[in-house]
Amino acid sequence: MTDFTETIQKYADVLVQVGLDLQAGQRLFINAPLEARELALAVTRSAYKAGAENVHVNWADPELDKIRLRDGSDEAVKAYPDWVVDGLLQHTDAGHARMNITCADPDFFAEEDPDRLRDMQRARAVKFQPVSERIVTNVANWNIGMSPHPAISAKLFPELSPEEARAKHWETIFKMCRIEGDDPVQDWKDHISNLVKRANYLNEKQFHALHYQSPVTDLTIGLPDGHLWETAQLGMKNGTYPVVNIPTEEVFSLAHRERIDGVVKSTKPLSWNGTIIDNFILQFSEGDVVSAQAERGQSALDTLLSTDDGARSIGEVALVPHSSPISQSNLLFFNTLYDENASNHLALGQAYRFTLAGGTEMSDEDFNEAGGNSSLVHVDFMMGSGDMDIDGITADGEREPIFRNGEWAFKV
């Protein structure tokens, strides 16, 4: 085997054994575009090695959507056959594992007729509603993996030939996903166990607030009573514990929507709705953004903040050390799976209900009353840096170091 074949197989092993927590005897359904063939086949191989009973790859060809938009009748554009969703539901309801391989050109539909595109996407969204419901309720193990799309490889490495850019993109993915050691599966188990220990530590502490300090940021974020720190490892109703995102570096919780004060400056560009917002400063008072200034993308930032009331407050607080591989790469991947693991970040908008004790059972009002934020949007932005310190502040006002110089400052 060549080095590449060996490494991609290790990556697939991590996705299957850690990412999916695939059980012997389970069936696996993979959604993959044709551009991701080598990864989909590697995952298929890994899944059988892990004892899968059956692996079905549902190949997608995004080009066909484009052809349909351009050459199909209105009826063809709005058509979405039932069996696609039937298939997914059958698999999910039977407790089969599911993997999505993301590998898309962010500008793929840029030149298409927006009305037809909307019709097509709406038809799909309507049919997919029952599938989405099952995903958020954690019925069966799932995971998202990434394969390099030529369009993103070209954006990341514009100076290289397509072949070289692809090779470099793969190399980057392997580095970001910690696939370089002799036993990446074990490395991942250690990594996740470390993240879980940190989450447990923070949960026991139940800090009243976090105080972020760097030369450009001085921000205090209140944490609600009963807040829960989580990792990307989720418990499923079928008894599995998949790590739904790979890579993942974050330990995250929710902010108290009314106790955020001070100033924060972004440290990485934010790609939102096809626009880049860069070098922006947000001033908070009692939980609301009271001033927002961006060097680039001001109007997009204003649009984002005016989505609804909740868009002006914070829903998620995530801790990521500056030394993490994605942070070190200094690349913008145009894909949340990677970009949100680049540094300490906050999300404007909706909080995750499972980051508050009892949150998934609460009414909207009770959730807001407890400090949880609600909004139509949830937009992560990076604000961590190598010179950031974070203190935890207890209910009686004592301070404990959480981060020093961009790194975890407590032992677990």
Binding site: R37, L41, S73, A76
Partner: protein, 417 residues
């Protein structure tokens, strides 16, 4: 600006859609396409989808099949699990077939793809799928329109052009051979095919009307009389859909064929091209028939393979098909052995040992095996074509009163239609 190759690919796609599966306004089309590393196969599929929408298709569904996932399954999955077929997959086909879907296959056959895995497991998987969809197949092929095609997967190109060094070059040569064989290089391939099919239809009607008692083949090493049963029907080229639409299940197709009378074949016939049978080559071979049955054979290469073949069952010693193909046909002219029946059986006039086609006999599709034998049509588990036509082959039609009319002279049609 598209390259010449892409233009040819597009013309091939147009043929498959307009002539092959015969797409009309409002049709539903399901394309089953093979996933490979060759971007041209994906491009051909895109051209097919475009062409179908241009022809007014209501919706085009593409199922991508990656033979590699089947291979991985056979290699790694537990034996007990190989019978599993997801029910939604069956439902997908049921829904489409019930809505009258036309089906087009875009695939290539790599003869050695499964050579390194357990054949029995491959058969188990294929059989499970077949059995899960067997209730819709009669509708899919007898009621709805369908067509197949062939594209150069690497393993196939490697076999056909073994003497060429570069694997990419082998695929390029096979594309070229396919384009030549399917008349893609004509100025207007769709019109060329319409004319070609018209010619086939006229010739088969002429021959069916004539109701010759026998055909007589003479050429180098060949002096063979093939009796034809009463009510034999000449077939070839197109099938007619319930709606009256014509479609062409095989592109390319050159042959006009019917069923011989299994007991009225006498004389000697010499093959004009090598035969690839179950991965082995039989070359320079002859058969002698008496009252329909093989009584002697010889071969420079593969005599033992012939023995295996005719020992399959009793019917394997009799003929089940006789087909006429002019020597000037594109596949014949290429001189290439494609190791693929779709092409090779259109290379020359040929006959087949084994089972006859019931549709080549009046009322044949309603007959059981005994009735077919009674009517003169052969029954067997096997059906193996081999080429006998050449540039020096003459074929006469022999009427009931024994007079002879020339059908082919020096390998070409000798009657006007």
């Amino acid at each position: 600006m598209t390259s010449i190759f892409e233009q040819n690919l597009k013309k091939y796609a147009d043929l498959l859609v307009k002539i092959g599966v015969g797409i009309r306004e409002g049709d539903l089309l399901q394309v089953t396409a093979t996933v490979t590393d060759d971007p041209n196969i994906r491009k051909l599929t895109h051209y097919v989808v475009e062409s179908a929408y241009e022809a007014g298709a209501k919706y085009v569904d593409v199922v991508w099949n990656d033979p590699m996932t089947t291979k991985l399954r056979v290699q790694h999955a537990h034996e007990d699990s190989l019978d599993y077929v997801p029910s939604w997959m069956v439902k997908r086909l049921e829904e489409l077939v019930d809505s009258g879907v036309a089906r087009l296959g875009i695939g290539g056959n790599d003869p050695a793809f499964f050579a390194d895995v357990d054949r029995a497991k491959v058969t188990q998987v294929t059989r499970a799928t077949r059995s899960a969809i067997k209730h819709v197949i009669p509708i899919a092929i007898n009621v709805n329109k369908w067509s197949g095609s062939a594209v150069p997967v690497q393993g196939w190109a490697d076999k056909v052009f073994a003497e060429v060094d570069s694997p990419t070059e082998r695929r390029a040569k096979l594309w070229d051979a396919i384009f030549a064989a399917t008349r893609v290089y004509e100025d207007d391939p769709v019109s060329a095919w319409q004319a070609h099919i018209q010619d086939i239809v006229r010739r088969r009607s002429y021959l069916t009307e004539k109701q010759y008692a026998a055909l007589h083949f003479s050429g180098e090493g060949t002096d063979l009389t093939v009796g034809l049963p009463q009510g034999h029907l000449w077939q070839g080229g197109v099938l007619e859909h319930g709606s009256g639409d014509l479609f062409t299940p095989n592109i390319p197709t050159e042959e006009i064929f019917t069923t011989p009378h299994r007991e009225r074949i006498n004389g000697t016939v010499k093959a004009s091209k090598p035969l690839s049978y179950q991965g082995q080559i039989i070359d320079n071979f002859s058969f002698t028939f008496r009252d329909g049955r093989v009584v002697d054979f010889s071969a420079e290469q593969g005599a033992e393979v012939i023995q295996d073949l005719i020992d399959t069952d009793d019917g394997a010693k009799y003929l089940g098909e006789v087909a006429l193909v002019p020597y000037s046909s594109p596949i014949s002219q290429s001189g290439i052995l494609f190791y693929n029946t779709l092409f090779d059986e259109n290379a020359a006039s040929h006959i087949a040992l084994g089972r006859a086609y019931a549709l080549a006999l009046e009322g044949g599709t309603d007959m059981n095996d005994e009735q077919l034998i009674e009517a003169g049509a052969n029954i067997s588990q096997t059906h193996v074509d081999f080429m006998i036509g050449s540039a020096s082959m003459n074929v006469d039609g022999v009427t009931i009163d024994g007079s002879r009319e020339p059908l082919m002279h020096d390998g070409e049609w000798a009657f006007e239609v």
